[in-house]
Symmetry: C3
Subunit: 360 residues, 3 copies
């Protein structure tokens, strides 16, 4: 494994779904940092280093006392700012006794934490994930905790949907994806892959949602990456000739796949996902069916991705042959990697895997 | 993990209960040394290096032949001194063919072995563990083999009983322990922590044993450490005002918790324990009840300690933040560590974890 | 573990039984190289590097398309020579895009691959394993895939059958083996151990096959090693005085044990074995009984060897005490090791374990 850093620390990373954090202690590892999360009595989420100042026992093995955490070994107490407020059998508390407190923002139904320099933790930098709010867009996702791969392999996966043709043949995969050119644009913090497939037969999933038998459709995939690891993919189909490429999607159906990918360690990650839609938003059976289509005991399309991603990581671990070779289809992923690398460079660590050779 | 040595080799370590060693071969790892133990026909226990001189197969996979061990691969035979007495298809035996024999003493119902220099293995140095003899004091203990922590974490645990308040709340834990001052004394090879809680309500376990409803008690905890890793804790309660602090325990009940902790590797250990008493010594149901109160499929007080100790070791392995910070309550453990460190220094290895910062 | 190489690469190694390779993709690891095997439409077996040129996903997770392999991630296609013939969304294929193709020969019911320099892969060098053809000699063997030991420990095991006396007491083991001298001869690529036990009582297995109650027999064990890791052991018994040592085996029964041992990694191997015979060749029940006598859910004689071999490897991993000490009985194994070492030297890597000290 390369020594170079693989993830920037000065970034907001999803650590949990809001509903997972209540009045008990929840352990998470984010960017190789062990964290204990809990909800204060005023509803605010706190995140502390998950190792007691005294003898390192995970604080998550202790219990909550009001807004403070009591260590399960010797009873030291830490407040939500990480300061020690009680030591057994001592009247004086060492003023330096504390554990690290991580900046937290709860937004878009997720709890985001900032593992790097707290002085830089600007809440305005929390990625735009508004589709996940549960307001205009409807859907229920999930999390693949501790997925056994570098979080960047998930980014690669989502930035190039030609893999759908091969990994997800028979559901959302389609020869048209591979056959259609795409374009990549980028800003300093984002990269966007846009592909329009004009006048094609819709693949099974979309044909069913559109419910216009026989109609040719224009299908779009507009994948938006926010560095270092959040992706929102605007996808859908509309009846051909009704103006979708020009902006009128009224004769179509539209969804967005959402991914907030959080490094757990150098070679594992947490993958918070959702698929939300603006059509048939009241149809709870459809919501559940879409969820199950993604993750369902190994049968969903994301389950197929997980298998591939973990096998790819194993192969990387075993295989000293680096760098990756790249194809034209990798243009979007390469821009995502480049933006991550720039963040790493700004933090003083070089990129770990330098993509280099083009395929043509 | 630090490279420095964590255990002295020139010491007697408990390797097994006497009743566990009979006329068959038993494998143990002590101080990272693989050992095969067996009882000779004259009843003496022998301990040999558990790897055949020839091709390293564990001798414990072979069988006993009289007082000798036959290797299970090619039939080499070794006597109880470790000398090879038979080689297949050879008339002449290489005079240097041998495996290491370890000094052994069986005492206080335990088998002790000396992994270091045999010339220094003085039986007079076997720790005082007479409470375990099964004579004046009665109790049945057990062993936590291959506990996944540095043996010194167990020493820390037992030298500071304030942890009872938090780890064992509801059984032997009590606010009084934390609130009461204690004193530490030491000699060149021992450290003793003494705490007297005067005029308190007895905690549930002791209230029941004393059977003097309503009476206030004086409770004592006198924990005696013998370097590197044997502890005997003199504990009990007596009716307040009957002279216990001055030496008259006739109006009280008295027990001793016993721990012989043996490094298996740098980060695992064997923990031989017992709790013996001088009251109701004929009550076998009480003996069994006390044993189950300590270890009982995860429900006993020692099971609670094991969970904490193994989590602490995991945290140490993950966490480069060293040294430990210390509190006043750690004074006893610090002396124990200091005595271990002196033994390590005498053997030429530095201590592995230097406790350094006081909390006040 | 020593850094030096343990296996030569320029050699034919058994990778699979022929019947295991059909019109699907089979993964194997040979000499630390991940390989995917499949049978082309013309019946020829192909072997490719099991990692896609593009992003390293194992090709064995993809599927066959005619004689080509389609990667299961992005659909790249590789032909049986390892050349990429299709890239998604590209008209031009990078001419350097390929995976490694390994030379393959199918012979003697096994698929042999050459992990080293393809230019040296002479089919004439495939080890003589004709006993396994299923023609004159009859038997059904099996494979211990991923046996957890250095392949050379299996060679040691088979080159010195005195271990039968101890590991296989009660079946084929016999005191006579250990008591009888043997001789070792060798060529540049082979070593042969010959042992004749004259006028002995046959051990149970052979007594039953010979079916001459009360007769004394001459028993032979002529073990033939072909470097680096193929062994054929000519074994049997004939009635004493009927000329077997001089070449007339007509009054005897004869079998050959066969071993093709393939390094999987430095410390694991695949062990293809068979036991074939020229007596009662039509007796299918006997064929099955002999197979079960070797491997049978831990009860067979080879199961006993596997237990010993894996324990020996564990001991070597734990034990820095090297080199091995050797006995007279190791003369055959030493010659085998020497021939392996010479192959390693020719490839520029030193031997990993230098056997050195004789026992007398």
């Amino acid at each position: 494994m390369p020594d170079a850093k693989t993830f920037p620390l000065n970034a907001w990373y999803a650590a949990a779904w809001g509903h997972e954090i209540g009045r008990s202690l929840a352990a998470r590892t984010v960017c190789s940092r062990d964290v204990v999360l809990y909800r204060r009595q005023d509803g605010i989420v706190a995140a502390l280093e998950d190792a007691c100042w005294h003898r390192l026992l995970p604080l998550s093995m202790g219990h909550l006392q009001g807004d403070e955490v009591v260590c399960g070994y010797h009873g030291l107490v830490f407040n939500a700012a990480g300061r020690c407020t009680y030591m057994p059998a001592q009247k004086t508390i060492n003023p330096s006794a504390c554990v690290r407190a991580y900046p937290v923002v709860e937004r878009h139904r997720l709890v985001w934490i900032w593992p790097g320099d707290p002085a830089l933790a600007d809440p305005a930098l929390v990625p735009d994930f508004h589709w996940n709010d549960g307001t205009d867009w409807v859907g229920e996702g999930g999390t693949a905790y501790s997925l056994k791969c570098d979080y960047r392999l998930v980014v690669d996966n989502l930035m190039d949907l030609t893999h759908e043709t091969y990994v997800h043949a028979g559901s959302i995969g389609d020869e048209a994806i591979t056959g259609t050119p795409f374009e990549v644009t980028h800003t300093e913090r984002t990269a966007t892959v846009t592909r329009w497939m004009i006048g094609i037969d819709p693949p099974p999933f979309w044909a069913k949602q559109l419910d216009r038998p026989g109609a040719k459709v224009d299908r779009w995939q507009i994948i938006h990456f926010q560095a270092p690891s959040v992706i929102a993919g605007d996808v859908g189909v509309a009846v051909t000739g009704t103006g979708a490429p020009e902006g009128d999607r009224s004769q179509g159906v539209n969804g967005t796949f959402l991914a907030a990918i959080t490094p757990e360690t150098e070679t594992t990650c947490h993958y918070f996902w959702n698929f939300v839609r603006t059509f048939r938003t009241d149809d709870e059976a459809l919501t559940r069916a879409i969820q199950r289509a993604h993750v369902n005991d190994g049968e969903g399309v994301y389950d197929q991705d997980f298998t591939v991603l973990e096998a790819q990581q194993k192969a990387i671990d075993r295989n000293p042959r680096l760098p990756f070779y790249n194809l034209n289809i990798d243009a979007g992923a390469l821009w995502a990697r480049r933006l991550i690398d720039r963040m790493l460079e700004r933090e003083g660590g070089g990129p770990a895997l330098v993509p280099s050779q083009a395929a043509e």
